[in-house]
């Protein structure tokens, strides 16, 4: 396996691979056994890392992914009984299990990647009921049920949020203005986060021309 492919796999597992490349690699994964095995090793390593961090794969998501796997011949067929003959426990069985987990992880990552950009559209599709007081619409009561929460919406984990490392003056204005309408705890958290956000580099932001500035 060449280094570039290896690098792509690693990037894909770290959720750093551009979507287009991700799609191509996923296609190749579905037909390249060697690549699939490689992915399996990444998945096992990833699972260990996640376990160390105390992060669990969302169970409903895992269930969904498993269902997708079972329904997907290219990825699921070899993972079933035929691929795991009942010959008692063998030393390689954990590896196969890892590969199966890898398949699940592969699909889950693709699912997440495909879902994230369209999360707004997914939400839009579910929002149909007219609102009362504000003139806005809200999600139907059935959508509030916890059981349906993994359907189409995934909260972006904090590290994945494209952070503006240096809060702009404009953002500072918004934060301060918004803080007046937050709950006391949320307000303190918000202002604390702003106070502790990465300081600006010198000259990182020049004032706009039309800014009202005055020396005290």
């Amino acid at each position: 396996m060449n280094e570039e492919l290896d690098s792509q796999l690693s990037a894909m597992f770290d959720d750093q691979l551009p979507p287009a490349e991700c799609e191509l690699l996923a296609r190749r994964l579905s037909r390249d056994e060697q690549l699939k095995a490689r992915w399996g090793r990444y998945a096992v390593m990833g699972a260990v890392i996640r376990a160390e961090r105390g992060v669990r794969l969302n169970a409903p998501l895992a269930g969904r992914v498993s269902a997708v796997l079972l329904a997907e011949p290219a990825l699921g067929a070899q993972s079933l009984a035929g691929a795991l003959p009942r010959r008692g426990l063998r030393w390689w069985q954990p590896v196969v299990a890892g590969a199966l987990a890898a398949g699940v992880a592969a699909v889950s990552i693709l699912w997440l990647r495909a879902e994230a950009p369209s999360s707004v559209a997914s939400l839009s599709a579910r929002l149909t009921t007219p609102a009362a007081a504000s003139g806005a619409s809200v999600i139907p009561a059935s959508a509030r049920e916890r059981g349906g929460r993994a359907d189409s919406y995934v909260v972006p984990p904090s590290p994945a949020v494209p952070a503006v490392v240096v809060p702009s003056t404009e953002l500072a204005n918004y934060v301060v203005a918004h803080s007046m309408f937050s709950s006391p705890v949320a307000r303190r958290n918000l202002l604390s986060a702003f106070m502790t956000s990465e300081p600006a580099a010198a000259g990182a932001e020049e004032p706009p021309d039309d800014v009202k500035s005055a020396a005290q």
Partner: protein, 360 residues
């Protein structure tokens, strides 16, 4: 200016260790302040009926907004921990507050009544905002019956923290449009000694732990003066306050066509932000716990050159900006990014102002 970002786990442990060895000092006279809600004295505690978790939240909010306090706390987010100091005073109905970053940027936020000042030494800038006087007493989101539809609020136990008896209250979101909280609320004073912000899966994404907390009867004015020298700083001030009601009848108003479940508009106002001459429409949406502000600005040349969609994170809070019909729409709130993104993209100008929306 650069800061070391040491191992978060080790630092978190260290932070907790500080918290465990720190004392919460309470002025005896302070307990008798008229502004403190019920159950602040031992006698009252013995006779008070057990409070529901929602009532504990109410007491906590009341304590945070009406008490005098001076505390140092650690703020943890994204693997980084920093110490801050908060001083809060209510005197003759006037609220003063100062929040200082004790290390790192040295930024300060100072509020005196309706005057807000943000000192940014790393930018050599001071933002000064004058809020309408009535907004200095603006209500924060209030937990009500509807809130229970979107959050599971319960007391999960009592725990000793900082040698204080605390009630541990969890506010768990029932979906992924919002975050939840775990709060360690002091049984005597109702002050939250420790708070964790969690996502819908219960993962901690932000934590505040008080290392010391005093509740003095009086706090001197000097405590609300900035430490940072502002010599040579830019001062960005709000321009002339925009009229709250336009001279001519409005033909349209900005509103969200759709909202995540439970969110409703609570405030609509017009204001001028520091460094700008243009009035900004400010809409606030809340579900009783979280709130999201939407700012609508007329598109300027600078806005036109900016990317159509931008996002940012301030701690666990999110911001998303987009352009709609020649206006820049920015949503900011202590919710996941997808929630502010959704709300921002649903804001449109409508022909009629909906009835029943509070006007400020």
């Amino acid at each position: 200016m650069s800061r070391a970002r040491p191992n978060s786990g080790a630092l978190l442990g260290l932070t907790l260790a500080w918290a465990c060895t720190a004392a919460l000092a309470e002025d005896a006279a302070g307990q008798a302040q008229a502004t403190v809600p019920a159950a602040t004295t031992p006698a009252q505690k013995k006779t008070s009926p057990a409070l529901t978790p929602a009532q504990w939240l109410e007491r906590m909010n009341h304590a945070l907004t009406t008490r005098n306090y001076d505390g140092t706390f650690s703020h943890w987010h994204g693997g980084h921990v920093e110490m801050l100091r908060i001083i809060h005073r209510v005197q003759d109905g006037n609220v003063s507050e100062r929040l200082v970053s004790l290390d790192g940027s040295g930024r300060e936020f100072i509020r005196s009544g309706a005057n807000l000042a943000c000192y940014l030494p790393d930018r050599r800038t001071v933002l000064v905002e004058q809020r309408p006087p009535q907004e200095s007493l603006v209500g924060f989101p209030a937990v009500d019956d509807q809130t229970a539809s979107f959050y599971d609020i319960r007391e999960v136990g009592r725990m000793r923290l900082n040698r204080r008896d605390t009630h541990v209250i969890t506010v768990s979101p029932r979906d992924e449009y919002r975050y939840g909280y775990r709060l360690w609320i002091d049984a005597s004073t109702a002050m939250p000694l420790k708070t964790q912000l969690c996502d819908a899966h219960g993962r901690i994404i932000e934590q505040v732990v008080f290392a010391s907390l005093a509740l003095p009867v009086r706090i001197a004015d000097a405590s609300f003066r900035p430490e940072v020298s502002t010599l040579g700083f830019r001062w960005l001030r709000t321009g002339t306050a925009a009229p709250l009601a336009p001279a001519a009848p409005a033909t349209s108003a900005w509103n969200a066509l759709r909202l995540p479940p439970g969110f409703r508009m609570s405030v609509r106002s017009a204001q001028v932000l520091p460094g700008s001459n243009q009035p900004v429409d400010h809409l606030v949406f809340t579900d009783g716990v979280a709130s999201v502000s939407v700012f609508v600005e007329t598109q300027t040349a600078a806005v036109a050159q900016a990317p159509r969609a931008q996002s940012a994170a301030v701690g666990s809070s999110s911001a998303f900006s987009t352009v709609v019909d020649g206006h820049k729409i920015t949503a900011v709130g202590e919710v996941p990014l997808a929630t502010v993104q959704f709300i921002a993209t649903q804001v449109k100008a409508q022909d009629l102002v909906p009835a029943g929306v509070p006007q400020r």
